[in-house]
Amino acid sequence: MKERTVQLEVLRYNPDTDTEAHFQRYEVVCQEEWVVLDALNKVKADIDPTLNYRWSCHMAVCGSCGMMINGEPKLSCHAFLRDYEGVIRVEPLTHFPVERDLVTAPDDFMEKLKRVKPYVIGKMKPIEEGEHRQTPAQLMKFRQYSMCINCMLCYAACPEYGLTPHFVGPAALTLAHRYNLDSRDEGRKERMEVVATKEGVWECTFVGACSEVCPAHVDPASALQQLKIVGSIDWIVEHLLPGGKS
């Protein structure tokens, strides 16, 4: 196994002692095939136990380890050292308040996730009647949008969210779309009250950065554009067509 000495430049912030963030340089011997998370773990175990960050699954499915690596939002368990040269700059995910070192406060995201009503809405049938019939085609209609691991890389990448923090944001809106498309759901109208608003999908200007950084291939940008079309048609039906509800 080949070894490689890696230099990390990591943002540090401790509210007990710091008024501002500062960078700290670490040099650590790594295996060639490691990811940035492995390097951080080695730093914490052998060099500096006071370094703080979140991680768990190490297989890009729990969404804990999002951070900025050389200015790009990435999962540190999925950022391979072989793709980086020179000093690697590691910072907490942009657009979120920094609690400590690489740990951000995701409160705004959690609230927005809840706001879009991401659950099946409609009359629940009894268990005894068995499953809802859903063909493979119906499943494929929404399945891509159910893959979101809630890692918030899209919120770090989205400049709208950075400039206008009241924006509901890519992941939350995509989750609303996922349920809208699910044949078992009847809650589209309720969700559109949250989605088709100024701070909802209409804040999006299709920068597309969210889809570029998404590690789970969800393509939130496409969900948001589709929501805009749905929202527009709703509006036309409601306001311009005879018989549309007001």
Binding site: A21, T94, H95, E99, M140, T205, V207, Q225
Partner: protein, 130 residues
Amino acid sequence: MSRRPLIREVPPTSWFFRHPRYLRYMAREITCIFVGAYCVLLVVALQRLAAGPEAWAGFLQGLRSADSIVFHLLALAAALYHAGTWFNATQKAMPLQVGENFVPGNVISGAHYVVWVVLSLAILFFAGVF
């Protein structure tokens, strides 16, 4: 000894320098200025046409100036970039599902390009270019 979350401000007028993808986005957005300006030019052209042969000749003369040529080159580049980014984006907004599969996005965008070329050729034909 307690929480004091650090807020990192986003620079409102220079955020797009942070990454090439944001510069590309801003370039795309700026193209609308050129597209809009060209529309204004077309309106002016109609007005000059309605004002008589002298006004029209003067307008055509103006089009041949160096400034005008530079503007037209820039506007053409902007319009091409504008159209290209728009067509590439359409595949995101209109997924076409056939059974369990989706029509590849490139096919949807590609169809837009084809229609664009056909319409452009038609316009040139009716304009007497060939």
